[in-house]
Subunit: 732 residues, 2 copies
C-alpha cells in the first residue's frame, strides 16, 4: 500500500579533489505502485524476463570497460569509475544514484622511495635487493604501481604459512624463538593479516610475505600471460590490518563523516606496528636459498622452490654473517578530510529492504577481484532497470551499492553500515554480496546464512548449468555432483560466512541475513591457493577472457543466481527464509563443538562443564522453528497485517543471534553463531566464543580459569539460541 514513484541510486564521491574516494552506489525500487494498472501483469512475467534480460556479452563489455585502468581506493581513476557507474545506473532507470563520502585512513607506498628488502653483509653492504615493482603485463606498461604494505634488520626465520599451528610447531616442538627476528611466511591457507598478527605475537620485528610456486602455480600451466600461473615477479598485494570488523581504523564503531572523532594513527585499530613487505618467488628464492638452521620438520613445510626450506634463524655457510634488512621508507598514511565546512547529512528512507552490494576498488586492474563481480552487478542493475522501465516495482526497496576501499579493510561498506545501523537493524531483510563472481571455473560456491539454504537450492534448480558435460542439466545438478556437502552428500555444499568481503559488517555485526555466490576451483584437485595471480598486476581483462571464462557463461550464471536472489527476496510476499534449516545447522554446530570438547573428557568432568543447556536451547529453537513454519504456511495471505507480522519475525531471526556485548576481544563481531575464525579471517567459525575458549586449552596457565571461560561461553551461546527461539513464538 505504500507507494513512491522514485528510483534512486547513490554513488561514491571524492573526499578531496579526485585523489580520494569512498562510498557506495545504491539504488532502490520502491514498492509496487497500486495505481499502476500494468503492474500486476508485468509482475507475473518479471521472474522470467529478468533473467532472460541478462547477457554474457554485456558482462564482458562491463568487465572490459571497468578494468582498463587501475582503480585503487582513493585514486582519481576510481572516482571516475564511480561516476561512470553512477551515470549508467541512472540511465538504467534506478530511482536515484548518489555518491556518499567518508574520510577514512588509507595507506599508500611512497612511490619515490619504494619499499624493498636487502641482504646485508657484515660490512653493511646491500648484496641483494628485491625488486621495486611488479613487471607490468604487456599493454599496461605505463601505469602507476600500487602496493599497500608497510625498517627492520635481523636474521630470517622461515615460518611456513605463518599459521597458529606453524608458530606452535616452531616454538613448542623445535624450540625456535622468533623474538627480534624477521620472519618470512609463504602466502596461502589463511588471511595474510593473521600471519602478521601471529608474527607480532611471536615477537618478530618484521615479516616478509611471499608467494611460493607450490601455492601459486598449478602444475603444467604457464605463467601469465602464457597461462594463468603467477610469474616469478608477481607480488600479491593486500591489507594486513587486524580490524576485526571495525572498518576505518580511526573511527571504530562510528561513520567516518566530517564530524567524526578520529583517533591518532598510532592509536588506530589493527594497524601492525612492524614492517610487512610482500615479494614474489624470484626474490624469495634468493632469500631462502642460503638459510641455515634446522631443516623443515616435514614436507608440509616445503614449497616447490629449489631451496632447502631450512628454518633459520639466519643464513649458513658463506652467508652466515649476512642479515636481512626491510627498507620501509614509510607508508603515507592519508587522512583526508572533506573540504566542506558544513556538516551535511544524507539519509536513506528504507522500508523493509534488500541489498545487493559489492566493491569496486581493486589493487590494480581488478580483472577478477572485484570486477567480475562489479560487471555482474552492473548487468543485474541494468536488467532490474529494464523491468522498472516496463512498469514493474518490487514489494521491497532494493539497494544496490558499489563499495569503495574494500581492499583496505572493508572500509566503505563498514562505514555505511555504521552510519545507517539503526535503520538497517529495523528494516533490512537481507544482504547479498557481489564481490568477484569467479575465483575458478569448476563449480558453484555459496557461503550463506542457513536461512537462505532452501532458497539457494531452489533457485539453482531453475538455472542451467554452464559446465561442460552438463548441458541441459541444472546448476544444482552439476554443483551437487561436483561438490556435495561433507555431512550429507544429498545436498551441495554450502559454507559458513567468515569475512574477507563487504558482507562482514552486515552479517557479523548487524545480524542481517547474508549470502554470497561465485564460481570456484575444484577444492579436491586444485591445491594452489586462491587463483594464482590473485591481487597482482596480472589480474587483467585478458586473464578472464583467455583463461577463466572465455564465453562469460560462468559469470552470467552467477548474475542469474544473484539476480534471482534479489528478485525473490525483494518481491516475494512472504520473505523466502526457512528457519528450520537454522535449527538443523545449530544442531550440527553444537554436535561439532561438543565433539571437540570431548577430547578433554576428564576436564569436562573435573570442571563440571556441561553442554546440556546448549543442546536444550537448540532443541527448543528447532521446535519453535517448526511451529513457526507451520503457522507461516497457514497464514491468511490476504491479511496484510498478519503477513507483515510474520515477515517482521522472519526479518529479525538473524538479528536475534547477535549480542550487543560482542565476542571476547572482538566487540564488532556480535553474531554468536558465526564469526570469522580467529586464526583465519576468511573462514567462518561456528559458536566462535566456545571454540576460541577451547582452542589450545591445554597450553593455558590456569586450567580452572580457562574452563570457566568455556563455561561462560557455553552459557552465552545457550542463552542466545534460546532468546532467538523466543522471537519465533506466536505474536499474541
Amino acid at each position: 500500500s505504500r507507494s513512491k514513484a522514485t528510483l534512486r541510486v547513490w554513488l561514491v564521491c571524492p573526499g578531496l579533489l579526485g585523489c580520494f574516494l569512498l562510498g557506495f552506489l545504491t539504488g532502490w525500487f520502491t514498492k509496487l505502485t497500486e495505481k499502476n494498472p500494468n503492474s500486476p501483469y508485468i509482475s507475473q512475467n518479471v521472474r522470467q524476463k529478468l533473467v532472460a534480460e541478462m547477457k554474457a556479452e554485456n558482462i564482458r563489455k562491463f568487465l572490459r570497460s571497468f578494468t582498463k585502468l587501475p582503480h585503487l581506493a582513493g585514486t582519481e581513476q576510481n572516482l571516475l569509475l564511480a561516476k561512470k557507474i553512477q551515470g549508467q545506473w541512472k540511465e538504467f532507470g534506478l530511482d536515484s544514484a548518489e555518491l556518499v563520502n567518508y574520510d577514512v585512513l588509507l595507506s599508500y607506498p611512497n612511490e619515490k622511495q619504494p619499499n624493498y628488502i636487502s641482504i646485508i653483509d657484515d660490512q653493511g653492504n646491500e648484496v641483494f635487493n628485491t625488486s621495486l615493482f611488479e613487471p607490468p603485463p604487456q599493454g599496461y606498461e605505463n601505469l602507476p604501481q600500487h602496493c599497500f604494505f608497510l625498517s627492520a634488520q635481523a636474521d630470517l626465520v622461515y615460518v611456513n604459512y605463518g599459521r597458529t599451528e606453524d608458530f606452535f610447531k616452531l616454538e613448542r616442538e623445535m624450540g625456535i624463538n622468533c623474538t627480534g627476528k624477521i620472519v618470512i611466511a609463504r602466502y596461502g591457507k589463511i588471511f595474510r593479516g593473521n600471519k602478521v598478527k601471529n608474527a607480532i605475537l611471536a615477537g618478530a620485528q618484521g615479516i616478509i610475505l611471499y608467494s611460493d610456486p607450490a601455492d601459486y602455480c598449478a602444475p603444467g600451466v604457464a605463467a601469465y600471460p602464457g597461462g594463468w600461473n603467477l610469474p616469478g615477479g608477481g607480488v600479491q598485494h593486500g591489507n594486513v590490518l587486524n580490524l576485526n570488523g571495525a572498518g576505518d581504523p580511526l573511527t571504530p564503531g562510528y561513520p567516518a563523516k566530517e564530524y567524526a572523532f578520529r583517533y591518532k594513527v598510532n592509536e588506530g585499530v589493527g594497524i601492525p606496528k612492524i614492517p610487512v613487505h610482500p615479494i614474489g618467488y624470484h626474490d624469495a628464492e634468493v632469500l631462502l636459498r642460503a638459510m641455515g638452521g634446522p631443516a623443515a620438520p616435514d614436507n608440509s613445510w616445503k614449497g616447490s622452490l629449489n631451496v632447502p626450506y631450512n628454518i633459520g634463524p639466519g643464513f649458513t655457510g658463506n652467508s652466515s654473517t649476512r642479515s636481512v634488512l626491510i627498507h620501509y621508507s614509510r607508508t603515507t598514511n592519508y587522512l583526508l578530510h572533506s573540504p566542506h565546512k558544513n556538516t551535511t547529512y544524507n539519509h536513506t528512507p528504507i522500508h523493509q529492504n534488500y541489498s545487493l552490494s559489492g566493491h569496486r576498488d581493486s589493487w590494480v586492474f581488478g580483472g577478477i577481484d572485484p570486477t567480475t563481480g562489479a560487471a555482474v552487478l552492473q548487468e543485474i542493475v541494468r536488467s532490474f532497470g529494464k523491468m522498472k522501465l516496463e512498469g514493474w516495482r518490487p514489494r521491497r526497496t532494493v539497494i544496490f551499492a558499489s563499495w569503495d576501499a574494500e581492499e583496505f579493510g572493508l572500509l566503505g561498506s563498514t562505514e555505511w553500515a555504521e552510519e545507517n545501523a539503526k535503520v538497517l537493524q529495523e528494516r533490512a531483510v537481507a544482504y547479498i554480496n557481489t564481490d568477484s563472481s569467479i575465483e575458478g571455473n569448476y563449480t558453484l560456491r555459496v557461503d550463506c546464512t542457513p536461512l537462505l539454504y532452501k532458497l539457494v537450492y531452489n533457485l539453482t534448480k531453475e538455472i542451467l548449468s554452464p559446465d561442460e558435460g552438463y548441458e541441459n542439466k541444472s546448476l544444482y545438478e552439476s554443483w551437487l555432483e561436483k561438490d556435495p556437502a561433507s555431512e550429507n552428500n544429498s545436498y551441495p555444499r554450502i559454507n559458513k560466512l567468515g569475512s574477507g568481503s563487504d558482507f562482514e559488517a552486515y552479517f557479523q555485526r548487524l545480524g542481517i541475513a547474508s549470502g554470497r555466490a561465485r564460481y570456484t576451483k575444484n577444492r579436491k584437485a586444485d591445491k594452489f591457493s586462491n587463483y594464482p595471480v590473485y591481487h597482482t598486476v596480472y589480474e587483467t581483462f585478458e586473464l578472464v577472457e583467455k583463461f577463466y571464462d572465455p564465453t562469460f557463461q560462468k559469470q552470467l550464471t552467477i548474475a542469474q543466481l544473484r539476480g534471482k536472489l534479489v528478485y525473490e527476496l525483494a518481491d516475494s510476499q512472504v520473505i523466502p527464509f526457512d528457519c528450520r534449516d537454522y535449527g538443523e545447522a545449530l544442531k550440527g554446530y553444537s554436535n561439532r563443538i561438543y565433539k571437540l570438547a570431548k577430547k578433554h573428557a576428564e576436564q569436562l568432568k573435573l570442571y563440571k562443564v556441561s553442554f546440556d543447556p546448549l543442546f536444550s536451547a537448540v532443541v527448543n529453537f528447532s521446535k519453535a522453528a517448526a511451529e513457526f513454519h507451520g503457522r507461516l504456511e497457514q497464514v491468511d495471505k490476504k491479511d496484510s497485517v498478519a503477513v507483515r507480522i510474520m515477515n517482521d519475525q522472519l526479518m529479525l531471526i538473524e538479528r536475534a543471534f547477535t549480542d550487543p556485548l560482542g565476542l571476547p576481544g572482538r566487540k564488532f563481531y556480535r553474531h554468536v553463531i558465526f564469526a570469522p575464525s580467529s586464526h583465519n579471517k576468511y573462514a567462518g567459525e561456528s559458536f566462535p566464543g566456545i571454540y576460541d575458549a577451547m582452542f589450545d586449552i591445554e597450553s593455558k596457565a590456569d586450567q580452572h580459569e580457562a574452563w570457566e571461560e568455556v563455561k561462560r561461553q557455553i552459557s552465552i551461546a545457550a542463552f542466545t539460541v534460546q532468546a532467538a527461539a523466543g522471537t519465533l513464538q506466536e505474536v499474541a
Copy 2:
C-alpha cells in the same frame, strides 16, 4: 486481526524452599478479539469506566494487606506475598499469571553476629558501641530485623554528604587525606552507593552512613509514631552497590537462570570491597561529638546535631587516642541455585506491548516504598480485569509485573529484561514504572521520556486534583501552580529519568520509552531528604494512613494517572508519542551542555572543540520530527499497514538513541541522551557522555587528551541524534 483468548499473569517463584525468591508478575491482555460482538461498544466506554472503577478504599486494603509483614527479597514472606498477588491477578481476570525464577546474589546480615561500630580506647576496649537493631514500632515487635550492609579500625573523617564536591573540598582545599581512614557521611542528596564509591576512590578503609536530623527531620514534626520524622534509633537501609545497570552482580548482561555462568563473588560487579555500616543519629552524635581537626568549612557542612562537625581525622581532647572500629562480622552472600536439574525455559509471546511494572520487595514493611506503588498496581490490575471480564480487549498486549529484589539493585527487573531483551527490543512500546506512589503529599512528580510529555499533560488535565484548595480543578492545574518547569513556567515540571527504580534496564539499556509518576513533597519548602523514615522499620501502613494520605486520594490520583497511561498506550490506534517534544528537549540539553563548555572558552578554541555537529544534528532531528508528525496526522487510519508502519517508527524512536557500545566505563547504560548521573544515580543526566568528559576537566593531567575525549563524546552524540533523525524519515 491477531486474536487470542487468553489473559495471563506471571508471578515470582522461589529459587529454593521459601528462603529465596525473585521474579516478576506479568499479565497481558491480547488484542481485541474481532469475534467478540460486544467489544466495539464496550471499548468506547472503557476510557471512562476504567478510572471510575478504581477506589481509594481498595488501595487502602491492598496496602494494609501487603504491609503486615516484612517482605525482603528472598524471604519466605515475600514469596507468600508473590503468591497472594498471583492469586488475586488470576481472580481479577488476567489471561495468565506466572512466577519466573532467577537465582541471583543477595546479601543478608548475619543475625547471630550483627554488625556494629565501636569507639576503641588505647587499651583496645570498646568504650562505645552503636545499637544492633532499630527499635521496632509498636505492634511489630516480634518481627525479624533486616539490614543489608556489609572490619576496619581507623580514625574518623567527616565527609559531609560524601559527594564528589565534598571530597574535592576536603582533598583540594583543606588538604585532608582520607587514605586508610574510616569516613562518616551523612545520608541525603545523592544515592548512597555513590558515597561509598567516592569513599573508596578517596582511599578510605570503611564508611559509616548516618541520617542527620537536618536531613531526616522536618521542623516542628514529631518522630514516628507521634509524627512522620525519623526517630534517633532509625536507620536507613539500602544497597550500596555500583552496578551501573548490570543487574545480578554475578551474571552481568545475561539472565541469572539455572544455566547462567556466574562470576565468583569477589569478581562480582559493583560490590564494595570496604565495610559499610549505616547508623541512626543517636549513635552518630556520640561518634561526631569528640571529633577534632579543622572545623566544618561552612554551614553547608553542618547538620543539626549538637556537635561541632569537625572534620577530623580522629578525636580530640581526652578521646584523642581513641579510634573507631567497624565490626563487620560478615554478610552472608547467598547464591542459591534452583534445585531443578533440567534446563527449562519460559517465553513471552509479546506483540507490540506495553508494560506497567513495579517492585514488591521491601527492606522491612515497605509501607511507602514500594507498597504504595504495589497497592496502586493491584487496583489498576483489578480494574483492567473488570474491563476484560466485560468483554474489552486492548489493541496491544499489556504486561503487568511485580518485580522482586529491586532493593538489592533492580535485580528482578534487570534479569527479566536481560532474558527477554530481543523480544522487548523488537516489540516493546513503553514501560511505566509503579514503585511508591507517594514520597510526599504536596504535588505530582513525573519523570519520563520527552515522547510522553504531551500524553502526561493531556491526561493530567482529565484527572481531578486531590489537593486541598484545588477542588474541581484538574491535577494539571494544581501541578502547574505548585511546580512549574524552571525553563518554561507555562508547563508543569517534568524531570529526566535517572535510575533508582526498575525502569532502568528498560530505558537506559534497552531504549524503551519509559515514565514514572508519584506524589511528592514541596521541593522548595521541604528541605529534608527523601521522606524522613525512608527505608526504615518505621515505614508502616500506619505511617501512610495517619500522616501521608489518610483518604488515600493521592494514591488514587496516581492510580488514575498510571492507569490512564496504560490505557492510552495499550489501546490508542496510533501510539500516543509526540516526537516533536524530543526535538525540543534535545535543543535544551544541547544548549545546556554548550553553556557548560563555554566556561572553558579558551580551551574550546585551543583544542578546536566544536558543538556545531551536535547543534546541526538536533536541528535535523527537529525537522525530521516535524515532518514525521505532519505525515502522522495525514495517515489513512483505515490503512492498517500504513498505521502499523508509523507505529513501528514511533515505537523505535527511543531505541534509536541507544548505542550498543554503551557509555564509557558503563556499558549497560546505552542511552546516549540520558543516563543516571555518575555522581548521583538517582538523577538523570542529559548527554551524559559529554557531561562526564567535561566534568572537573581542569583537574585532568593531560588537557589535550581530556579535550579529545570531549570531542569524541560530542561526535558520538551528534551521530546518534542524526541517526535517530534518520529513523523518522518517510518509509518508502
